[in-house]
């Protein structure tokens, strides 16, 4: 508890009023929702250049406890409001199919019938620690901030959609019906974080299903919950190791592959899949020309000049050794 307050005090970027109120009303709920790190994350955002890399640089994230989610879809509504997107269809009909985040809804809640009853799962960008999309982006438009969020920068993007091809969670969406299209995805409310606020979905979750904080502390909290009621949870935190770790972490009562999560993604961070190839590039780029030049010089000697002149009528594209 003290350490959390320290984090806020040290960072000091949280508006005084907010920090004060949080300290005053630090009941369990408030503690869990904040986990003391909102301020820390927000601060590093503002002072990233000045602050040396250290524990404060640790990325923040969100823990989603699907055993607590009641499926009220408040997160969908406030997310749309926070990002100026059309209000989601509130009827239950849309819950009958499994939806993905789209260019008009950055987060969606899906319902699954399982042996543990109805389970609701909020989906959005996972904010990978080593994101495939950012490594795929040739203009660095898709960018992993040191604070955790993976954000898209409009000024840089040329719309090649390689991020969409590469993302293992199929999160980035493209505006196909716009002449000035954007890539759209959850930014972990990057603008709100910089202003010292928590993501809109976390801020407004009435069921305490979402917790915002530093990733390491979220992992500890998740472990605590599993150990506290081992019969409630499957003993896995989705996102702890998947594709090298994600900033969004999930707890569930049933195996994750029954909740629309892919179990076959592996623990390797996706950028590592292209690393060997990219390491080979400078090697080829420096060694191959030398080799080719050597072969070219070696074969030059074998040329019989008289034969050469007879068959080869052009000076043009020749190497000039004959001129």
């Amino acid at each position: 508890m003290a350490s959390e307050n320290d984090a806020i005090a040290v960072t000091g970027a949280v508006p005084a009023g907010q920090a004060e109120s949080e300290r005053a009303g630090m009941d369990r709920r408030g503690f869990l929702k904040t986990l003391g790190a909102a301020g820390a994350c927000a601060l590093t955002a503002g002072h990233a250049a000045a602050a040396p890399a250290g524990p404060d640089e640790e990325p923040c994230g969100v823990l989603v406890d699907t055993t607590r989610c009641a499926g009220c879809r408040t997160c969908e509504r406030v997310c749309a409001e926070a990002h100026g997107l059309p209000a989601p269809d509130e009827s239950d009909d849309v819950m009958k199919v499994v939806r993905s985040p789209s260019e008009r809804a950055l987060t969606v809640v899906n319902r699954y019938e399982t042996r543990a009853g109805e389970v609701f799962v909020k989906r959005q960008c996972m904010h990978c620690l080593l994101p495939a999309c950012a490594s795929a982006c040739l203009t660095r438009a898709m960018f992993k901030t040191p604070e955790g969020p993976v954000v898209w920068r409009e000024k840089k993007c040329m719309g090649c959609r390689f991020c969409m091809v590469s993302c293992p969670f199929e999160v980035p969406r493209f505006e196909y019906h716009s002449p000035v299209p954007r890539i759209v995805k959850c930014s972990l409310c990057w603008d709100r974080l910089k202003a010292g606020q928590r993501p809109a979905c976390v801020e407004n979750c009435p069921a305490e299903a979402l917790v915002f904080g530093k990733r390491s502390q979220l992992l500890e909290e998740a472990q605590r919950r599993i150990q506290g009621s081992p019969e409630t949870y499957v003993h896995q935190i989705y996102g702890e190791r998947e594709v090298g770790g994600t900033s969004y972490l999930y707890l569930a009562a049933v195996p994750f592959d029954q909740l629309g999560f892919r179990a076959d993604l592996g623990d390797t961070a996706y950028p590592l899949l292209t690393r060997e190839f990219l390491y080979g590039v400078p090697v080829v780029l420096t060694l191959l020309p030398a080799l080719l030049l050597a072969i070219s010089n070696a074969t030059k000697e074998n040329q019989d000049p008289s034969h050469h002149e007879a068959t080869h009528g052009r000076l043009d594209a020749h190497t000039g050794n004959r001129a």
């Binding site: 993905s100 040329m158 719309g159 090649c160 196909y176 080829v284 080719l292 009528g313 000076l315 190497t319």
Partner: protein
């Protein structure tokens, strides 16, 4: 024409002369109402209309691309298949300028021209597919170098390779406009441009495969492997050479009248020689495919519909053309060489489309099928390339003899080059 004698007056006269020469060259040669023109012109017109709609209303207006299938025909065929087909240029220049196999010298110019135009049009087709093409300079200039991106490598290599190809082709342009000194200077750059071009090709042909390395969870295991880059590189060798073989056959029919005698006499030996290389590289490719297949323990997958489709691709359009090429070389049958080359090209189309479209999200019940608009635009790109190719071949000494002044040692032939045209003008 020497630089030292240039005064404002002569410069003006010369510029005017060149303009008249160029305008005269711009006019179409030959009949306008050929079957090819009658077929291609309306399609190209329609394609231009579709492209206007595409840029006015977004990619979704004329394509079937979706959030799940961000890349379709324009990337999978135009760019990824088209660039494999253009691989002939780096292989042939390697054989002629590095290995100095003079036997293949007659086809260098047409092959390099084909390669250059293929890159300009097919890699250029990427611009049509970009959502925000006005930002295309970002990875080239500015402070947005995404060096961890395979796409960054591919983009730079496309650009640099086009430059290298243009340098390789530039002596032909200099001969066309009658610039002796320029032709000599540009010709001396050829070896450097060739070596640079081969290196770039090695990296971006494999780079096109490496684009799919991060789609690991989406591509069917029969088509995904960490060796995609190597498979793409090796297959670009026989893809490019098969294209050269077929293109040579078509050129003899279409441009036969313009062809120099050396072209006609060397054709047979060249086709048989290239076929031998194709047979060899197809075998290497098959061997690599088998290694990946066995190492991945993928035998059970063959008994699925996509497994059969995989067999069609590998047995039907890699193994069979490999055997056919070998037979054709043995029997010295040009007809069989052409059949094998055509089958090889079909196999390349299958492979590239399988990796980028068919095996991509193979588990998804909703499949991407290109819209008619995408097909028309693809045809437009292909036809536009052929129109430009024809224009160049009809005018520049690509297949025809170079102007008489080019080689001092050559036996005297009537100088029909454009240098004389320029002098008249």
């Amino acid at each position: 024409m020497a630089v030292s004698t240039l005064t404002p007056g002569t410069a003006l006269r010369e510029a005017g002369g060149f303009l008249r020469f160029f305008l005269r060259e711009l006019k179409p040669k030959g009949k306008l109402l050929t079957p090819f023109n009658l077929l291609s012109a309306p399609i190209m017109l329609l394609g231009v209309v579709l492209l206007v709609i595409r840029f006015a209303r977004g990619l979704g207006a004329i394509t079937n691309l979706s959030q799940d299938y961000p890349w379709g025909l324009w990337v999978g065929f135009d760019v990824i298949t088209g660039v494999a087909f253009a691989g002939g240029a780096y292989v042939v220049t390697f054989m002629v300028y590095v290995l100095r196999q003079e036997k293949y010298h007659p086809i260098v110019r047409i092959t390099v021209l084909n390669g250059l135009l293929a890159y300009v049009f097919y890699a250029g087709a990427l611009l049509l597919d970009l959502g925000r093409p006005w930002k295309v300079v970002n990875p080239i200039i500015g402070n947005s170098f995404g060096v961890s991106s395979v796409m960054f490598l591919v983009a730079w290599h496309f650009l640099l390779y086009m430059l290298a190809e243009f340098i390789e082709f530039s002596p032909t342009v200099a001969e066309w406009v009658g610039r002796r000194r320029a032709a000599r200077v540009l010709g001396s750059l050829t070896l450097g441009a060739t070596i640079f071009g081969i290196t770039l090709s090695t990296l971006h042909q494999s780079g096109l495969g490496a684009l799919f390395l991060m789609a690991k969870s989406k591509i069917h295991p029969l088509w995904y492997s960490e060796f995609i880059p190597i498979l793409f590189l090796v297959s670009s060798v026989f893809a490019g050479l098969s294209m050269v073989i077929l293109e040579g056959t078509i050129s003899r029919k279409v441009f036969g009248a313009r062809m120099s005698p050396v072209h006609h006499t060397s054709h047979r030996g060249i086709v048989l020689g290239l076929s031998r290389v194709c047979a060899g590289t197809l075998f290497v490719y098959l061997f690599l495919k088998a290694l990946v297949f066995i190492h991945g323990q993928q035998v059970p997958l063959l008994a699925t519909p996509l497994g059969l489709w995989f067999l069609v691709e590998v047995a039907g359009f890699v193994l069979v053309p490999c055997v056919l090429f070998a037979l054709a070389v043995r029997r010295e049958s040009l007809a069989l060489c052409r059949v094998a080359a055509a089958m090889t090209l079909v196999g390349i189309v299958l492979n590239r489309l399988n990796v980028s479209i068919v095996a991509f999200r193979w588990y998804d019940p909703v499949r991407y099928v290109p819209s008619w608009g995408e097909v028309v635009v693809t045809l437009t790109v292909i036809f536009a390339e052929i129109w430009v190719l024809r224009w160049v071949v009809e005018r520049m000494p690509v297949l025809s003899e170079a102007p008489g002044w080019v080689s001092v040692v050559r036996a005297p032939v009537p100088a029909t080059g454009h240098a004389e045209l320029l002098k008249e003008a």
